[in-house]
C-alpha cells in the first residue's frame, strides 16, 4: 500500500539521509519526493510503498513519529487514501 510521509521542522544537516535510511530499514520504498526549505523551516513530502497488511501501517507510522522525535522533526506517515478522499472529488 502507498503512504504519504511528511517531515517538517527546523532545518538542519542530514534530515533526508536519516529519514530515508530509516525508511529503507523498514522496507519502505520511496517513490516520489519533494522537499523545500523556507527560511529556517524544512518541509519534505514523500510517497512511499509499504509492504504489509492492515495494521502494519499504523505500527510503522508510530515508529516514524518516534524516530522523528529523536532528530527533532515532526514526522507523519498516513495511508494515501485519506488524502485521496479529502482532496479528490
Amino acid at each position: 500500500m502507498k503512504a504519504i510521509v511528511t517531515v517538517t521542522g527546523k532545518d538542519k544537516q542530514g534530515i533526508i539521509a536519516k529519514v530515508s535510511s530509516f525508511l529503507a530499514s523498514k522496507g519502505a520504498n520511496i517513490e516520489d519526493i519533494s522537499q523545500t526549505v523556507m527560511g529556517e523551516y524544512f518541509a519534505m513530502i514523500m510517497m512511499v510503498e509499504v509492504v504489509g497488511s492492515d495494521g502494519d501501517l499504523a505500527a510503522l507510522a508510530k515508529e516514524c513519529s518516534e524516530m522523528g522525535k529523536t532528530i527533532g522533526m515532526d514526522i507523519h506517515m498516513q495511508h494515501e487514501d485519506i488524502f485521496k478522499a479529502m482532496h479528490n472529488v
Binding site: 492492515d54 501501517l57 499504523a58 485519506i82 488524502f83 485521496k84 478522499a85 479529502m86 482532496h87
Partner: protein, 451 residues
Amino acid sequence: MFTNFEILETINMVEKEHLDIRTITMGLSLLSCVRDSAEATATAVYDLVCKRAENIVKTADELSGEYGIPIVNKRISVTPVSLITAAFPEKSGLVGKALDDAAERLGIDFLGGYSALVHKSTADYERKFIQTIPEVLATTKRLCSSVNVGSTKSGINMEAVRLMGETFKEAARLTADSDGMGAAKLVAFCNAVEDNPFMAGAFHGVGEADVVVNVGVSGPGVVKCALEKIPDANLTDAAEMIKRTAFKITRAGQLVAKEAAKRLGAEFGIVDLSLAPTPAVGDSVAAILEELGIETVGGHGTTAALAMLNDAVKKGGVMASSKVGGLSGAFIPVSEDIGMIRAAEKGAITLDKLEAMTCVCSVGLDMIAVPGDTPATTIAAIIADEAAIGMINQKTTAVRIIPAPGKKVGDEVNFGGLLGRAPVMPVHSCDSSKLINRGGSIPAPIHSFKN
C-alpha cells in the same frame, strides 16, 4: 494526485484544528437475545455484544494510526431494550446491567439503547420499563437511555412527556452526589432516528441490519479556522467556505466508516454530518457563530447564523458521503462547548434563545443544567415545547436536561470529560402543571398526512 498544499492542509486540520472522527458506533440488533426470563436474556445480550463488538476498539485504533486521524470514541448502540424485555419489564435493569458490563469489558465509554419508543402511546410494559430508567442510570456507568415521546406522523404522547419530566427529576435525584449525572445520560426525543451514532441518544432501530457501523464526524475547529481565513467575506462566500470544509471533513468520515465496516464484518450504515463540539478550546460551535460576527453566542442574529451554518454543513456533507443519516447538523450542547459555557455564565444565552436555535439545527436542548427544585411538570413542559418544534418542523429534537440536585441559578455542575461543565440556568417560574396533567396526546399535524 494531490498537491503538497493539500497534504499539509490535512495534517494541519488534525494537528491544530481538532479534526477528528468523533465516534465509530456499532449498531447491534438484540432481537435474537429474547429468552423466557430476564436472567437468560441478560446473559444472551452480554454474550452477543462481547462477541460481535470484540474488535471495535482495536480496529478503530488501527484505522486511526493508518490514516493519521484521531478516532475519539468507540461506541455501541443496541435495539431499544424495552422491546426485548416486554415480557418482564420490571426486570429490564438486569439487561441494562449486562450491557454496562459488556461496555466495560470492551473498553468503550458509552453504550446506548436503554430506550423505549412511545411516540404514539405508552403500552403497559413500556410504562414499567420507563420507571426502571432512573435506577438503572444510577447503578450503571456507561449505559445511556432515550425515550421517543413524539413524531410528526403520530403527534406527541403527553403521558410519556409527563412521565419523562418525572424520570429526569428522579434520575438526577438518585445521582445527586455526581451533580445529577444520571440525567446527563438520558434523552427525550421527538422524531428519533434509528441510525444515530451520537450519545446519549443512540439506539439501533428495528429496521436496521444485524450489525451496522455508523460514524459521526466532527470538526467545529476546522470550520472556524477556515472562516478565519476570510474575515471580511460576505455570508454567501462564508457559506461556501463552510460547505467546502464540511465536504473534506465528511470525506474523511466516509473513508473511515467504510473501512471500519469492512474490517468489523458489519454493514456500512451512515455518516452523520454533525459538528459536535467538545469542551476543549478550539473545538466549539459557539466560536463559529462568533467568528461569523456575533459578539457572544446568544445575541440577536445567532439563530440566523446557525441556520446558515447547519445548512452549509449538510450541503457539503451530503455530496461527500454515499449514505448520510443520523442527526446530521450542528450540535449546541451547553456543557460540552466552551463558547456556550462562557455565554451561559455571562447570561448572554438563555433557555429561550436555545429553544429558538433548535428550530434551525440539530438537535435540541442539550446538556442544560437547571435548578434542582424545578418541578417535574416544568421539565415536562420544556420537553413538550421541544417536541412540538420537532413535530411541526419534521425534524429530530431532543431534550437532555439536568435538574441539578441542591443547586440554584449561578451554581455550576461539573461532569468532567466530554460531558463538561455547565452553569445552572434559570427556567420560567410560572406553573405549567395543568397542561402537563391533562394527559392525552397532541394530535399529529395536518401536514403529516401525505399519503
